[in-house]
Symmetry: none
Subunit: 227 residues, 2 copies
């Protein structure tokens, strides 16, 4: 876990750096806006802590510049400017959080952790997809509806997974063929229809409110009620 701290007050730097490193964050320092921006653009950090008042280039400018360059590293703005307008300016520049000096170190730490959490477990992604009373667990490859566990085959499972990742949107047979079956030319097959039928038997048949609906001429949609 690597952080970048862009700050020019030596006392604050050592205070923050020590605290963060005690908590397992490797911390690089930039003492001015130019160096800060250059380092930030490397894209090697999990979180960037950005002071607003900096030599050469202020925190707002740096942050906008990063977003413009498609660097989406979470940014925590740090400043003595506490008015709502100042905060809004920070968020407008693309910051993810905004903390007013003076602050307690533990709050800074908590906010940094919250920010770093995202782009780590974002990648490992959510392991559980839900819709209504339907639960699909990607880790255990199990599915439940309303507490009852349901046995699905591999294809049925990926089909349902695709439905859950695209809920409330009509999905064409062509899209399913492509994304779930890897068929990208038109074979005259009806596997999809057959599998939707399999899924319905297992997921909808014994429940009053159906989840898989067909939109004649377009495809299928996962949603709660019929229009």
């Amino acid at each position: 876990m690597k952080l970048l701290l862009v700050e020019d007050e030596p006392k604050l730097i050592s205070f923050i750096k020590r605290g963060l490193e005690e908590n397992g964050f490797e911390t690089d320092i930039a003492y001015d806006g130019n160096v800060g921006e250059r380092l930030a653009k490397s894209g090697n950090y999990n979180v960037i802590i950005l002071d607003v008042n900096l030599p050469y280039k202020n925190g707002f400018e740096i942050c906008s510049e990063l977003r413009k360059n498609n660097i989406h590293t979470p940014v925590l703005m740090l400043t003595a400017l506490g008015s709502t307008e100042d905060k809004l300016q920070g968020f407008d520049a693309g910051a993810d959080d905004y903390l007013i000096k003076p602050f307690e170190f533990l709050e800074l730490l908590a906010r940094v952790k919250a920010l770093s959490k995202r782009n780590t477990d974002d990648k490992t992604a959510t392991n559980v997809l839900r819709f209504a009373d339907l639960v699909l667990d990607l880790n255990t490859k199990t599915v439940q509806r309303g507490g009852n566990s349901i046995d699905l085959t591999a294809k049925e499972f990926s089909l349902l997974e695709y439905f859950l990742r695209n809920k409330k949107r009509v999905i064409s047979r062509g899209e399913l063929a492509d994304k779930v079956w890897d068929i990208n030319f038109d074979t005259g097959t009806n596997v999809i229809d057959v599998y939707v039928n399999f899924l319905r038997k297992k997921i909808d048949k014994n429940f009053p409110n159906k989840l898989i609906h067909t939109q004649v001429g377009f495809g299928y949609i996962l949603k709660e009620a019929a229009e």
Copy 2:
């Protein structure tokens, strides 16, 4: 973009809900901890705003419970408790941000936007064409006029879609044949006339101001009033 607001103070609710909806966030409300947790577990929200003091179950508990269930929806904690320990407790429970009451609405909005920024997949994003009080949703393949939903067949839908994409312009039968029916030679058909008639029955018949007008000798046009 869909939000869940779990809060029990009616005045605060209406204040927040109105503000958020003015900014394009569809907002569901839960008035107590139990309902809030159940809704939150559906996984259907982009951001959850969670008050701490709630009937039945407090915000900290709800948040921990969500994380335990692998629901990683960003949570913004909202409370009058402003001590650092309280904030830490919130972050420990898995919150992503923590805002102290009273707050300025614009700051809440900025923080909600920052949180929602993450998990926006463009596929589920609303994708609608509008004209007058007519709404055509390309994701759900549904159509509404003045709040009443209207059932269209696939051909009717594509025809209306073409009208909406070319509103206020006269469209010839030849163009419709080509673009909506893929007929590019002259079969002596009158399908187009028949389908315009179908559409009119469904979208214009029960409404005083007609939208589909015929330009004799040229074709059809989608516009508000007759010349």
